[in-house]
Assembly symmetry: C2
């Protein structure tokens, strides 16, 4: 019998979020699980890391299971760095992040703490998957997607995720019999139009809340947004070489001496 | 005579950093300048945005010049969003971020607050450039690169940066006569090996400082690391479509039902 895979579990909603509790439960069915996750919500933290203040990390036990759990004061990327360098005895076979309460499809990948953890693992040469459910509520129902999370994880372990790539998996908010299957997609070309809610505090000082509207003008049927809107689970392979190789030739024609 | 371009200036080291003061001075020679920058250092913030707390923004005047300046409580990405939506009367012609005190070459682009501001502008359809000098010190000397910052900016305004791409410009720490010129590059495949400095606080609780060593195993002579090590200024075109298009075909062969 093969040795069980070592799976690092993290997220950005914090170690007590229902999303990560569901993910731990599923991962316990697959491998040896170690959880290193933020002690408080870190949503929209992007790929932040903690370099100017200290990090704390405490072993805890939130609920039953064979896994180990550590609560960390840092960002999702910090959690992965700490886990790999200070907590785990060997390099994990897989890092899974989530299940995020809310979408990380399309351009949201760039703001996402969930995906920053997966990317940090990828940069360190560890296979990684970020899981997100299109339901922002704390009471989100993860039962419909449990089997898909397991299938996708097992498939990644068997097929191996290509190197320098991590998977961004988003689930539509649907009942299990309404889900049409899994689609491999590209990131839709979409963006947020901000709407700042300007208010005045009791001392007369103006302040803002950031809100916004998501605009998807990408009509492609190969995008994550199309898949999710049509009842599919989207999987986008994501890379961290951000070079726009296709424009290098153009830039080489620029004359900087003009 | 053409209307002067409207240039938004921001950074991640904070509005009082010498790097942004130098950038403002140069941009005042080129266009109409509005500064919206963080009120305190935001290094390594990645692409964080502020969604769970309030943002403050105050008009200030740090030093002389025709530009307007606003100090903002948020992250670099917040500053761009606030500028575009609440402060500027029209869409800027260009957003410049920096000059960062320290490198944003190679994988550092992903942790960089400087580049997150440029990327945020790019996402919003604004031409954008991030500038960084390979000198972490507050006392870094920006005089050797002043003319290059101006040349690159003017060249971008004339040639137009390709859409959905922003420029990541890094300057070697050299005297002006030691700089060999400008190279268009790809992001080197490099990474950090973390070294956590574990300590115990006066209450007996363990804590960590994140430190690390930068490892570049990429031998290519077309990378930003090669250019910088050989006395060149590196320009990497950076995109925010993170899709790893080249592996989609491979992923489509996976059987999720096994």
């Amino acid at each position: 019998m093969n040795k069980k895979p070592l799976i690092l579990v993290t997220n950005d909603d914090g170690i007590n979020a229902p999303g990560i509790r569901n993910l731990i439960e599923t991962m316990n069915e697959i491998g040896e699980v170690v959880v290193v996750a933020p002690d408080s919500p870190q949503s929209a933290m992007g790929h932040a890391i903690t370099i100017n203040s200290t990090l704390h990390c405490t072993e805890i036990k939130v609920n039953d299971g064979t896994h180990l759990e550590y609560s960390c004061s840092g960002t999702p990327a910090d959690c992965v760095k700490l886990a790999v360098n200070e907590i785990l005895q060997r390099k994990p076979d897989l890092c899974v992040s989530g299940i995020n309460h809310g979408s990380n499809s399309s351009i949201n990948v760039i703001y996402s703490g969930t995906m920053s953890a997966a990317l940090e693992a990828g940069i360190e040469g560890i296979q990684a998957i970020g899981f997100s459910l299109l339901d922002y509520r704390w009471s989100a129902d993860f039962s419909a997607i449990k089997n898909y999370v397991k299938k996708i994880t097992l498939s990644a372990l068997v097929n191996k995720i290509p190197s320098n790539v991590v998977l961004n998996v988003n689930f539509p908010k649907l009942k299990v019999n309404q889900i049409n299957g899994i689609k491999i997609c590209r990131q839709a070309k979409a963006y947020w139009v901000e709407e700042f809610d300007k208010r005045t505090n009791p001392m007369g000082l103006d302040y803002y809340w950031l809100t916004g509207k998501f605009i998807n003008e990408d009509k492609g049927e190969d995008t994550d947004e199309w898949a999710l809107a049509n009842g599919y689970i989207s999987i986008v392979p994501v890379k961290f070489d951000l070079t726009a190789h296709h424009v290098i030739q153009n830039l080489n024609t620029w004359d900087f001496e003009n």
